[in-house]
């Protein structure tokens, strides 16, 4: 793994991460009027995050059951609206305790 290869990969990653972020907001200066489209756009973040989280989350810790325990804790804390940090750390803590005690 040469340094040149890694740096090139990182630069390419940075470019293809920036382009999708910038293009639409720079190009579309006028607001979209269509209710269909604005509704669609309103729902996208929830769809993206849902699809990214499940089912990936249950493969995220190297143990299916521990991951499920962590997922349930995250769901519970999020339902109680505990905020990003508490939910993330709560899930990590439960998975860690499972690793330690089982």
């Amino acid at each position: 793994m040469s340094l040149r290869y890694i740096l090139l990969a990182v630069a390419l990653m940075a470019i293809v991460t920036y382009i999708p972020r910038a293009l639409p907001i720079v190009l579309f200066k006028r607001k979209i009027k269509s209710q269909r489209i604005t509704s669609f756009l309103y729902y996208t973040p929830y769809a993206v995050l849902g699809a990214m989280t499940f089912p990936s989350i249950i493969y995220s810790t190297g143990n299916l059951y521990y991951s499920i325990a962590g997922t349930l804790v995250a769901l519970g804390l999020a339902y109680l609206e505990q905020g990003l940090m508490k939910v993330a750390l709560g899930a990590v803590l439960i998975v860690f305790l499972c690793h330690v005690y089982f």
Partner: protein, 254 residues
């Protein structure tokens, strides 16, 4: 005459107020960004850990976080670098994973002050992440450049700092801790969507549809050949379309 005085007075006052408004907007943004910044630390920590464990130098792990500022794309990209994939494959995969930002960027274009100049747009675009997007789209009013820059600041440094900590502490942490950190990213996503799903049945339906599609493409034979980036895009487009068709939003705000 009196009228003239009024207008000139108005013009005189306008500038300092505008400046004060930008400072206030920036501060407000910073305030809203802090929970994201704290949420990023454990996730970035997990990233730094994974990268260095896989043989990436500490400074490069930090460089990746400071130039990419993205969760899923970085995890995937570093995984591919460790597997010595071709540059083409790395570029294509991270691009596909990041296509979702186009949807967010387009949605934000509806939400920002219409007359924001292109230069400002291109600068703030760097800070669009799943989380900063979710928070800014929940704002009641139009988004200004100072607000967005404030919102981005905390998460940017939280992401870099978390990566640095994870990268440096790798060798001191027991494996159990390292494995446990893997769930942090997803737990954070859950924290972002559940409160909204609680309040809106439409959002809940959209989330369930998206999850059903991504699960199908994970477990159903043949369907599971499609790469994760494409699955996310497909699930997003279908689920959001279902939302738009069955629960069109009547309000003005996006």
């Amino acid at each position: 005459m009196a009228k003239d005085n009024q207008t000139s007075e108005k013009n005189n006052i306008k500038k300092p107020i505008a400046k004060e408004n930008s400072i206030n907007d920036f501060k407000q943004g910073v305030k809203k960004g802090l929970p994201i910044a704290f949420g990023y630390v454990p996730v970035a920590f997990a990233f730094g850990l994974l990268a260095v464990k896989g043989g990436i130098p500490v400074w490069i792990a930090i460089l990746i976080s400071m130039t990419n500022l993205t969760s899923a794309g970085q995890f995937a990209g570093v995984g591919l670098i460790m597997a010595q994939a071709t540059l083409f494959e790395i570029t294509l995969t991270t691009f596909v994973i990041n296509i979702r930002y186009m949807l967010m960027s387009l949605a934000l274009a509806q939400k920002v002050v219409e007359k924001m100049p292109r230069l400002h747009r291109s600068i703030m675009a760097f800070g669009i992440t799943d989380e900063t997007f979710a928070v800014s789209s929940l704002e009641e009013r139009e988004i200004t450049f100072p607000f967005m820059m404030g919102l981005i600041t905390g998460p940017y440094f939280g992401w870099a700092l978390g990566t640095a900590l994870g990268a440096i502490l790798t060798n001191f942490l027991p494996v159990a801790v390292q494995n446990s950190m893997g769930i942090a990213l997803y737990a954070m996503f859950i924290a972002l969507i559940i409160p909204a799903a609680k309040k809106s049945k439409a959002v809940l339906v959209v989330i369930i549809v998206a999850i059903a599609i991504s699960s199908a493409f994970k477990w159903v034979p043949f369907l599971n050949k499609l790469s994760q980036g494409w699955v996310i895009i497909l699930a997003t487009v279908i689920a959001s379309a279902v939302g738009a068709i069955f629960f069109p939003r009547s309000e003005e705000r996006v």
